[in-house]
């Protein structure tokens, strides 16, 4: 049945070369944990991507209940966690996954660093990877405020003090990010929400696409 549907579409649109180009290539021996168990270190990049997919999906579902507003944010989070079926699980996936992304990304970076896989001709991909790292950190920072509890509020106050300590433009920068020169409040949470849900994911998708295109173009680095 599925085969027939596939054949029907393939006959008209010739989709086989499309996915072959993406999926059909041999895993080099030095990267395959079946040959050398130590090759599991090559999994960290893929695991980072896997956790990122979980973050995107769970985040999409969380916004069905979440409200980015000083009066309703905490209440809506409390409601979705305690009164909606599987709310604790879905929020838990997003909460713990956020930390896991950073851990996996860090391990991936360590592997690339210690194997010297960033060297010519792969310097550009290292640069893009570091940019992804920054975007992920920013996602973690902006997401931290959204539950609007005491921890979120005071963590963001500290963030604002750090931003304010920037030489010369500190105060402007703080106002730009918090939406108000003094208050971490109504405008801060809407800004952080917009950045967390629209701006940073958009940047992340672009960077990830570039990251993957470059891997396919250059291939994985050779054995040590």
């Amino acid at each position: 049945m599925l085969n027939k549907i596939y054949d029907w579409v393939d006959e008209r649109l010739d989709i086989t070369p499309l996915w072959r180009d993406i999926a059909d290539h041999e895993v080099p021996e030095h990267v395959n944990p079946a040959h050398h168990f130590s090759a599991f270190v090559y999994c960290f990049g893929g695991l980072t991507f896997f956790v990122t997919v979980i973050q995107i999906l769970s985040g999409m579902f969380l916004t069905m209940y979440y409200v980015p507003d000083i009066k309703n944010a905490w209440e809506s989070v409390y409601y979705l966690q305690n009164h909606v079926a599987f709310g604790q699980i879905v929020r838990g996936m997003h909460h713990w996954g956020a930390s896991l992304v950073i851990v996996m990304m860090f391990l991936h970076t360590l592997r690339v660093f210690f194997q010297g896989a960033y060297k010519k001709p792969r310097e550009l991909n290292w640069v893009v990877g570091v940019l992804i790292f920054f975007v992920m950190l920013a996602l973690g920072l902006t997401g931290y405020l959204l539950p609007w509890d005491m921890k979120a509020l005071f963590a963001t106050k500290v963030t604002m003090q750090i931003i304010e300590s920037t030489p010369l433009i500190g105060t402007y920068l703080k106002t730009l990010i918090a939406g108000d020169p003094d208050i971490v409040g109504a405008q801060t949470i809407t800004r952080f929400f917009a950045i967390h849900v629209f701006f940073l994911p958009a940047a992340l998708f672009g960077l990830m696409a570039a990251h993957f295109v470059m891997i396919r173009k250059q291939g994985i680095s050779g054995p040590l």
């Binding site: 579902f61 409601y79 079926a85 709310g87 879905v90 996936m93």
Partner: protein, 168 residues
Amino acid sequence: MSKNQVSRRQFLSYTLTGVGGFMAAGMLMPMVRFAVDPVLQAKAESDFIPTPQKVSEITEVPTRVDFKFEQQDAWYTSEVTGTAWVYLDDKGEIVALSPVCKHLGCVVDWNTDKANPDKFYCPCHGGLYTKDGTNVPGTPPVAPLDVYPYKEKDGFLYLGKAKPKKEA
């Protein structure tokens, strides 16, 4: 060996699809259940809501009765005002009609159209209902006004959730 040998490629593709499907299901199942929760939430038994109307003071003239009740909307609780038109029918039984017009949901009033006395009148499109809530043919509404189930308690009128009138 059976006749239909499973090749190595087939075996691997089945196992990978199975494991992959299991992982995807484990990931998506909580999220989907989370999303469809409003549909599956058990509906609270609709309680009878107290009104300020004393049963002994109900007359044969339809009277507007406003009653307040607490509405729970997820994490938001608010006080909502409901309205009913209440009177005694020919048999002396209480009738409580919903004021929501069955045309497009405006609010009907009793006896406000001078051309059509003793009718429920909807100011939006000129819908008319007779005293028992039946829609007057030739006016926009296509069904009679909804009826509140009622109860008497401590001399006061209690109303349930308005239901469509059964008879045709």
